[in-house]
């Protein structure tokens, strides 16, 4: 009874707060606690995804809205005359924080920097062939080959930095002093104190934004200490709350939660090596799927969102009516017999350390698979070691995580994982020529509804082949004081809220 009441109350509170929060207020300081302030604040020198702090000072040419449609940001509009040409018409009168003008020249310079040896987003943008200036506010980008998720790439990863600032400070200086066109201007970074401060950009191009006067980001590595800081009001926004601490925080009251996964295509799964015994047999993979009861797993682990295929339901690349393999131990046993494994077999499940949810997952999977005579032996490795072994094809069954390939486009979960020529094919060694063709076609068409049809078809084939077990995805939370509003994770690839949308009640 208690369990059902809490969500209802939360929902009521949520509706109530939506109603109250109709008119944003200006002013205030947002104090954010984070595990780690990234070593480099240069978005082109990005090791992995980084944190919120990387996006505060910058804009991209276009941006996603909450319905996952593209919106104008630094580009007022854009055109795609053919599937390798993208023309961006830039917003006029935008200035970088250092006073220099944002124009086509700056865009070209930025893309060239992203393609340079210094850049760590280089491989992402490798698809670009030429960048041409049409006039002061128009840029034409030609690709080497059709690549439909290019707009997604521009929205998620092409942050525009100030060329003049980089030339003045050098790359290394810029890593400690980011300068962009964004809603907040870098003020100070004190590594010893673990504090990073941004102040409002008074000349922001987007009228009447941002709301906040200041954002202070504090580095507090310990989860428990960060929790205390949130409870005492020392910070009012915690980037990453352990789910085990949520009940404690609920007791404190005045704290809101939002899933850190936001709209991202993040998934957690178990992967098979589709080219090696025993999982090279589709029937065995399907049997495992029938033997695992998703709902029990999610309940056992807790804070796990169900997914039913390689894409979460929020993605437009996933068919809401896709076929789903429901828990059915009878069918599982039958398939095992058909595959010639009535006596079962032993297999090693490789998983990684430092994650209690993943430990629980391995345990319950072991229990459930014992029912169909599969004896699971759990091997715990360090993340890097696990990836390395997978890359070297030294696995049969492994516990994995995928962050959407750094993109909100379905391509990041489908082509990158399942195309046999993809550089991430080692995750399951999945090979299906029909799927390859569909995914390749989807890359060549820029129309979203056309692509959707191809992705739905590919998704169906992949689910039939079952190269992975998509049991769900582990949710972590952003927790913030109830006086903070406008926290809707979306950027980039779904993880962080827009800094210019956040406001604080006085």
């Amino acid at each position: 009874m208690k369990k059902t009441i809490t969500p209802i109350i939360l929902l009521a509170l949520l509706l109530f707060s939506c109603f109250v929060s109709a008119s944003p207020q200006y002013g205030g300081i947002l104090k954010m606690g984070t595990r780690l302030i990234q070593p480099s604040l240069d978005p082109h020198h990005d090791m992995g995804f980084g944190g919120f702090e990387k996006y505060v000072a910058f804009n991209t040419l276009i941006q996603y809205d909450q319905n996952l449609e593209f919106q104008a940001e630094l580009a007022e509009s854009w055109e795609i005359p053919d599937n390798i040409t993208y023309i961006f018409y830039l917003r006029k009168g935008v200035r970088f924080h250092d006073g220099t003008e944002f124009n086509a020249e700056a865009v070209k310079w930025n893309f060239e920097r992203m393609l340079s040896d210094y850049s760590q987003v280089r491989t992402l943008f490798d698809v670009i062939d030429t960048i041409e200036l049409i006039d002061d506010y128009t840029v034409k980008i030609k690709l080497k080959h059709p690549y439909a998720p290019f707009l997604d790439l521009v929205a998620s990863n092409a942050l525009m930095v100030s060329p003049a600032a980089v030339e003045k400070m050098g790359n290394e200086g810029f890593q400690k002093h980011p300068v962009g066109t964004g809603p907040f201007v870098f003020e100070t970074l004190d590594r010893q104190k673990g504090e990073l401060v941004f102040v409002k950009n008074e000349n922001y191009w987007r009228e009447s934004r941002p709301y906040l006067d200041k954002i202070i980001i504090r580095e507090i590595p310990d989860d428990q200490t960060r929790l205390f800081a949130l409870q005492t009001g020392d910070i009012d926004y915690d980037n990453n709350v352990l789910t085990s601490n949520m009940d404690e925080l609920r007791k404190t009251g005045n704290i809101k939660f939002v899933s850190i996964l936001g709209k991202s295509n993040t998934i957690d799964f178990l992967t098979f090596n589709c080219q090696e015994e025993p999982f090279n047999n589709k029937k065995v993979r399907q049997a495992v799927s029938y033997a695992l009861d998703q709902e029990t797993i999610a309940q056992f682990i807790g804070h796990t969102e169900l997914i039913y295929g390689p894409l979460p339901d929020t993605s437009w690349g996933s068919n809401p009516d896709k076929p789903v393999r429901k828990y059915d131990p009878e069918k599982a046993r039958k398939l095992m017999i058909e595959a010639g494994y009535e006596n079962g077999f032993s297999v090693k499940l490789k998983t990684w350390s430092n994650d209690p949810k993943r430990d629980d997952l391995a345990l319950i999977v072991k229990e459930m698979l014992a029912e169909i005579n599969i004896n699971v032996e759990i091997e715990v490795l360090e993340t890097g070691t696990l990836f390395q072994q997978l890359m070297q094809n030294d696995f049969a069954f492994a516990s994995m995580h995928w962050g959407g390939g750094g993109s909100l486009d379905p391509n990041g979960n489908l082509q990158l994982l399942f195309d046999s020529r993809s550089m991430y094919n080692w995750i399951s060694n999945y090979r299906n020529i029909e799927v390859d063709t569909l995914l390749q076609q989807a890359l060549e068409i820029t129309d979203r509804s056309e692509r959707q049809k191809l992705y739905w078809k590919a998704e169906e084939l992949i689910i039939e082949d079952q190269p992975m077990i998509w049991f769900g995805r582990f949710v972590d939370y952003i927790a913030y004081s109830s006086k903070v509003h406008g926290v809707e994770p979306l950027k980039p690839a779904g993880y962080f809220p827009f800094p210019d949308e956040i406001w604080i009640e006085n």
């Binding site: 090791m47 760590q120 200490t225 205390f228 409870q231 360090e382 962050g403």
Partner: protein, 314 residues
């Protein structure tokens, strides 16, 4: 004496050489790759190759070692693979944190443990002795990070006397610095004190049974003089050894305490660097530890001659 010190310093050379070889090769034996550790699953083969080349990891390990030693001898510590910052710059910001924490916690430890140990020995088997015994047993067995979290909760959340976390340099703002350092130093100091207190007690009990103590008492010296001048001074020799080792350990920083209190010290840096396979940083820190330990041992050896004039080095 001077010759002795010079000789000991010369011994540093083979020690450091040995340690540098061990840590250089050991960290590379650990499975994993800096590029993979940093980029995670999204590392493309290109990225991995790029990082290997950039930091010379594609060369044979032996060659890498020679290059590294040459550079370190010229005080060029290189750059961190993870943060791309100069390691000397990182050390300049990290070392003061660990040093200030270490000195304050040693101070707290000694000012608790010495008196407690002496009282415990002098009033052996009394109620006070038993009480101290309970506390020291608890102090040794309670993990530091747990005590830290409890202290933050009590003195930061329930009774907000001290700041929850963070570091302020004592030299730039003394009161704020002290306030920020007190809880972590107290946490660390308490577990160190428990051990030193036990050592003091054991040493004192041994000495108090010696004949010269009886003599001292017999010639009518005040009990306080007997205890401080005759008994305690003689227990200082074994204590110095223990305190020396403890100082070396805390100077290297305590990773767990530094994480709990968000102090950007050496211990946290070392642990983080091991996880990201940041070879250059790990090597320099281990080397730094080695130098500190050797120097502290030397210092305590020299201290012996002052504490006990019978000890002479030649």
């Amino acid at each position: 004496m001077a010759r002795y010190i010079v000789g000991r310093c010369l011994q540093l050379v083979p020690t450091l050489l040995g340690i540098s070889i061990i840590c250089f090769f050991l960290i590379r034996l650990v499975p994993g790759d800096p590029a993979l550790a940093i980029l995670g699953i999204s590392a493309t083969p290109d990225d991995i190759e790029y990082i290997r080349e950039l930091y010379g990891l594609d060369k044979p390990v032996f060659i890498q070692y020679i290059i590294w030693v040459k550079k370190v001898l010229c005080l060029d510590f290189g750059k961190s693979i993870y943060s791309n910052e100069d390691i000397s710059g990182i050390l300049i910001s990290r070392v003061p944190v660990s040093f200030q924490l270490a000195l304050l916690s040693m101070f707290i430890s000694l000012s608790i443990s010495m008196p407690a140990g002496i009282i415990s020995a002098v009033k052996r088997n009394s109620f006070l002795d038993r009480l101290i015994c309970i506390f020291t047993t608890a102090g040794i067995s309670i993990p530091g990070f747990w005590l830290g979290i409890i202290l933050i909760y009590v003195f930061g959340v329930v009774f907000p006397v001290f700041p929850l976390y963070g570091f302020v340099n004592i030299f730039s703002d003394f009161t704020e610095g002290l306030k920020h350092l007190f809880l972590p130093a107290f946490t660390l100091g308490l577990s160190l004190a428990s051990f030193t207190c036990r050592m003091t007690r054991a040493g004192m009990i041994g000495v108090l049974n010696e004949n010269y103590i009886i003599t001292a008492r017999a010639k009518g010296l005040k009990e306080a003089t007997v205890i401080t001048k005759h008994a305690f001074r003689n227990t200082l020799i074994p204590l110095t050894t223990v305190i020396g080792i403890q100082t070396g350990t805390v100077l290297g920083g305590s990773a767990l305490i530094e994480v709990v209190f968000a102090l950007p010290g050496l211990g946290r840096l070392l642990v983080d660097s091991i996880f990201t396979r940041d070879y250059p940083v790990v090597q320099i820190i281990v080397l730094l530890y080695a130098i500190m330990f050797v120097l502290i041992n030397l210092l305590s050896d020299i201290l012996y001659t002052f504490l006990d004039p019978r000890i002479v080095y030649s």
